[in-house]
Symmetry: C2
Subunit: 207 residues, 2 copies
Amino acid sequence: MPKLVDHDRRRAELARVVWRVIGRHGIEGATVRRVAEEAGVSIGGLRHYFDSHQGLLRFAAAEVASAVGPRVAAHLDGDLPGPERARLVLEELLPLDADRRVEVDVWLACLARARVDGAMDELRHAAWAGERHLCRLAVALCRGGAPPTAIGDELDERLERHARRLHVVVDGLTLQTAMFPDRFPVDELREVLRAELDRTATDPADR
Amino acid sequence: MPKLVDHDRRRAELARVVWRVIGRHGIEGATVRRVAEEAGVSIGGLRHYFDSHQGLLRFAAAEVASAVGPRVAAHLDGDLPGPERARLVLEELLPLDADRRVEVDVWLACLARARVDGAMDELRHAAWAGERHLCRLAVALCRGGAPPTAIGDELDERLERHARRLHVVVDGLTLQTAMFPDRFPVDELREVLRAELDRTATDPADR
DNA sequence: ACCGATACCGCACAAGTGTGCTATAAAAAG
DNA sequence: CTTTTTATAGCACACTTGTGCGGTATCGGT
């Protein structure tokens, strides 16, 4: 046998190449040939790890979820104050640097494609639920309440409203900074997020 | 000469067909052939009104701005109270019914393409400025202050912060309800928007 | 030393793409 | 009626796409 490569690791590497290509040429530019060329392999070599173009894109999309997960988990246990951890958690979802920027690009592109593809539907719903869960977690961290245990666990109505709002704000920040990075600098992003978390924490009169 | 059709009107009609196609098959499915077929014309007939595929898509994208403009203008002068008018204005940007839903689909698709195309760049920036202007207008309507006159006029720092936040919320609502219409029902959308406008109006302690 | 599995290559093909082009039908203008 | 202008049709071409398939080099196992 030849080099005997680690299949999973190689697939992950190739997925990063797909990210780069999508970031530069959009998802319609992420053709099999271009990804192969960018990865420095032949078109057949790519097909050895992904049996179809759809499968390649789906895996690349799933990889951003796999990349974000550990990063937020790292913030979950620590000795920082709750609101600070909430901020760090949600900031992992936002395009604050080049790496997260390309992740967001890929994610938005795949989200749009999921409306047509159907193969990414499962992933799309899982990601929504995961993001909502993180928002609930952030609310709990800001307020010092009991964090939700399983994904899907709702908070009580008052806090759930905060989670919904945070979710909307995070998605809005994502879209704006991804589509208009020149109009929306990152420090403005941080400021908006911090203000919303402050509001969640202090909760003035709570309506 | 034959029927002697109104060129502009026909182009607008064809643009609506492009909307339908994008709504159903995504922007990558909006090929010249499919649009022609859906419009009931031949591929050559389409090319008589649009000299290129890019031009077709660009015009279709510009048409959503042209469609939204008059609708918000209709809300601007009226005898309703300010906050109510602010709500109506911003709701015109959100996918609250099937028509606005397809507009949002088209808009998001073209926004994503603008990151690669370049031909839509001008339109993209104009739309951003327009949306920000409407948010400033909504703030002024909620607070009873003097509305901004020209697009690009900033409010004072306090109110500008509200406008930024509203802009983020509107975009977040747009993305969420467009991508996850099943998870985010329209009445929830209305509730979030109304809460944010309330906050803009009452402005509790203003940080 | 040999075998066979494995990683990778790259051509071939059908399908689909945008676009240029000519042809045709229709109706206003003379 | 004839002419001329316009709307529409649809074929042809070059090109790109995803994918199937046979070929080849490489290295671990025996």
